[in-house]
């Protein structure tokens, strides 16, 4: 059987360094919150809707709490206190605040017992709904059998959610297991989640609760027809990570792009803000049984895939530790990597194989997510098709969990209907005809592939221990990750970070921690 030979101790050293990096940031996760975390709490309390100018209610309320210096106690307390006073629902309370009929600044605190009764009831109500969604998914898998491995993951990106549904259904019928709905360009930098269905998006549709609902319904329909559960993916990233995770939990998304550091490095979002937001968003995903995926492919789109291979490994190990802190189990941890080595290089395929095996060796129980070649593919669709076949070959050989299918028209346009069909055909051919090939192959311990994998892990381990020594924030400020310098007190969304008071409460996080065994 194809397998690397790496000393366990070497893996443990790298893992321990990553663990130190993440646990050193516990102070931040314990003592701070952010505006999007508070908006998530409002959404989980059932507050939804938007004003005439499109500002979502959760934003209006959180801004109101912030402007009136009430935020440090947490949004949950204030809403539930008002509910105790008015005997109205959270949604009605929100509407009263927005219309000016209710002023929270002079609202006297109601009896604590009463307020906390409401908090508990509201928390249970939503968490029960999320649990039901999780159970429904699990029942579907029992009914239809588990997802294929590697799973076939394709994207739809028409900009119109109704067109997306049509293309997604077609893709499912062609054999796709996972459908990702690409977000409109630039959503990651919006400090709010747009409201309603998208019919004219650029580069995709917005991640909105309504879009989630529409696509979920479409995929459930086609899944029943096919006798297969079709997974829905979106992106819990950017400035609204936990809100999007919550919407996904409510509408039963199955997979979420949810990287711990991506926003900091590639979107210039403030480091504190991102780490806080990823912590809660991942906890919601853990609770809802949503599989997360990490974005290590991004390290290779601008850096050299051989020289910087260790940055992928290092990021994977950090992502793993942050995920563990949020209660995510390995079977829901889609650790990412990519097939991005220059195809004109001699033995490029051997390097790819070594790197893919290393990821699998480090995360044997994870549905690792393998990203297709994008950087070195051109408009030569015929050559791209071959490179994608080799990419599929590596995935089958190394047992990756999720195969994000490469499109022959990568670098030309967002996939056309037949591009996707050809990609699925390519993958199915390889996965089927080479199904058990990995049982027949072994790798010599002193051969190139095994040596290369060991070398990358050594570099990653060395890098991680240096970062652990100086701390993640300092390392980022010095540009240790992806050659991009990110300072702790700079970047977008910093003004949305605040210190919690002693009486602060996030009832959803508290309850999730208990049920996830984090306390």
């Amino acid at each position: 059987m194809i397998k690397l030979n790496i000393p366990n101790q070497k893996i443990n050293e790298a893992r321990q360094a990553a663990k130190k990096i993440t646990t050193d940031l516990k102070w931040l996760l314990n003592e701070y919150s952010s505006v999007t975390i508070e908006r998530t709490i409002l959404r989980l309390l059932g507050i939804d809707g938007a004003t005439a100018d499109g500002t979502p209610y959760p934003n209006v309320i959180v801004d109101y709490l912030k402007d009136n210096h009430l935020i440090d106690k947490g949004a949950a307390y204030h809403i539930c206190n008002a509910m105790a006073k008015t005997h109205k629902s959270a949604q009605e309370v929100a509407e009263m605040i927005i219309s000016g009929k209710l002023n929270l600044t002079d609202l006297e605190p109601q009896a604590n017992e009463k307020v906390f009764q409401i908090i508990q009831a509201e928390t249970q109500k939503m968490l029960n709904h999320i649990k039901k969604q999780k159970e429904f998914r699990e029942k579907q898998y029992e009914k239809f059998g588990p997802r294929k491995k590697p799973s076939l993951y394709v994207i739809v990106a028409t900009g119109n959610i109704y067109d997306d549904v049509k293309q997604a259904k077609a893709a499912a019928m062609q054999g796709a297991d996972i459908i990702a709905v690409i977000r409109s360009t630039a959503q990651s930098l919006l400090d709010y989640v747009p409201y309603g269905a998208t019919t004219e998006g650029f580069g995709g549709t917005f991640a909105t609760q309504e879009n989630f609902r529409i696509m979920r319904q479409g995929l459930d329909e086609v899944g029943e027809e096919l006798g297969r559960y079709i997974c829905l993916t979106n992106y819990a990233s950017g400035l609204c990570m936990p809100e999007i995770a919550a919407m996904g939990a409510i509408e039963r998304l199955d997979v979420m792009l949810n990287d711990a550091m991506y926003g900091i490095l590639f979107r210039d979002i403030n480091p504190k803000r991102t780490l806080l937001d990823q912590y809660f968003s991942r906890m919601i995903n853990a609770y809802a049984g949503i599989e997360i995926q990490t974005g290590e492919d991004n390290y290779l789109t601008t850096s050299d895939a051989i020289e910087k291979a260790y940055t992928v490994t290092a990021s994977q190990l950090i992502n793993e530790q942050f995920a563990i802190m949020s209660g995510i189990k390995h079977n829901k941890m889609g650790i990412g990597h990519a097939y991005e080595i220059d195809p004109d290089m001699e033995n490029a395929f051997l390097y790819e194989l070594a790197h893919a095996l290393l990821t699998k060796e480090l995360f044997p129980d994870s549905p690792t997510k393998y990203m297709p070649p994008t950087k070195h593919v051109t408009g030569n669709i015929f050559k791209t098709y071959i490179i994608n076949a080799m990419f599929n070959f590596v995935s089958q050989l190394t047992g990756q969990g999720v195969q994000l299918l490469g499109m022959l028209t990568e670098a030309v346009h967002t996939p056309h209907l037949q591009d996707r069909a050809l990609a699925i055909e390519n993958a199915e051919y390889i996965f089927k005809t080479m199904k058990d090939l990995n049982q027949e192959i072994s790798i010599p311990e002193d051969g190139f592939i095994n040596k290369r994998a060991n070398e990358v892990l050594s570099q990653a381990s060395e890098f991680l221990s240096k970062v652990a020594e100086q701390g993640l924030f300092k390392a980022m400020a010095e540009g240790k990750f992806a050659d991009i310098k990110r300072a702790e007190d700079k970047g977008k969304g910093l003004n949305g970070v605040f210190k919690k008071s002693d009486t602060y409460i996030n009832p959803f996080m508290d309850q999730m921690k208990i049920e996830l065994g984090l306390v």
Binding site: A157, G159, K166, Q167, K169, A170, M173, Q174, T185, A186, S188, L189, F202, G203, F266, R267, D268, T301, T302, S303, D304, D342, K375, T378, G379, A411, V412, H413, T414, H416, L417, Q418, A421, D483
Partner: protein, 251 residues
């Protein structure tokens, strides 16, 4: 067989001169059966093809079918009448460009680059500007005689121009990767319009790049140059150096 190519009457070449044979692949919202196949044939016939062979069709579901076809076109073109606008300045490597600037301009050139507006994809601007460069060509940051500022992704046009004014830029580099629904045209037009209204359009070189950008398109949009796929830092840096030399020395 005579093999005389007539440049005024060029046709696609399959395996015989002027056979006009072309390969085509497309999807139609028709059923995957004989009727659907006929629809594909009629489409190609209507487009002016003949000797049409639908060699493959496949059900894409949801009412769509994919076709692969070979057919002969009757159309010919006169290649003697073609005039393409291309960036025709000499391409120098990094050392040559630095030397050129040192000798002919005598000061460093300042370049500000960004992916503007909605575009979040920095792969293009990074390939041109980042120290490391791309495919064995160092980025502009590495050049001795360039001060380079890479502002990254999703930079509003206003901010790019503000920065350019602030650092007294000689050239602005704009990358546009996403082209869905012609968003790149809208973004590039917006930048030029703002630059014109702020009166800075002629104070610096405006250069755009991206996989779907040609020099001709760039000129049409009011830019000084455009670089499409296959362009490297060396192409861009040489152009800036040579063009600036011309302008500064009033050539």
């Amino acid at each position: 067989m005579s093999f005389k190519i007539d440049p005024t009457r060029i046709k696609p070449y399959g395996d015989t001169l002027n056979d006009g044979r072309m390969q085509l692949s497309f999807a139609l919202p028709v059923s995957c059966d004989e009727a659907g196949k006929e629809a594909a044939k009629i489409l190609l016939k209507t487009m002016g093809f003949e000797n049409i062979e639908i060699c493959f069709l496949k059900d894409l579901h949801e009412g769509f079918t994919q076709f692969v076809a070979y057919a002969n076109t009757l159309v010919t073109i006169d290649t003697t009448k073609i005039h393409v606008k291309v960036v025709d300045t000499e391409v120098m490597n990094m050392d040559e460009t630095d030397e050129f600037i040192e000798k002919n301009i005598g000061r460093s050139l300042t370049v500000v680059g960004a992916c503007i507006e909605s575009d979040a994809h920095t792969v293009g601007i990074d390939a041109i500007m980042n120290m490391k460069g791309y495919n064995h060509r160092f980025g502009i940051e590495r050049y001795k005689y360039f001060n380079a500022y890479n502002m990254g992704a999703q930079v509003p046009s206003e901010e790019l121009l503000k920065k350019a004014k602030e650092v007294n830029a000689d050239a602005i580099l704009v990358s546009q990767i996403v082209t869905q629904k012609d968003i790149h045209i809208k973004n590039l037009t917006r930048l030029i319009e703002i630059a014109e209204s702020e009166g800075v359009r002629d104070k610096m070189l405006f250069i755009c790049g991206g996989p779907r950008i040609s020099h001709e398109l760039a000129i049409e949009l009011g830019y000084d140059a455009g670089f499409g796929s296959g362009s490297y830092s060396t192409n861009v840096a040489s152009f800036i150096a040579i063009e600036m030399e011309k302008r500064l020395n009033n050539k």
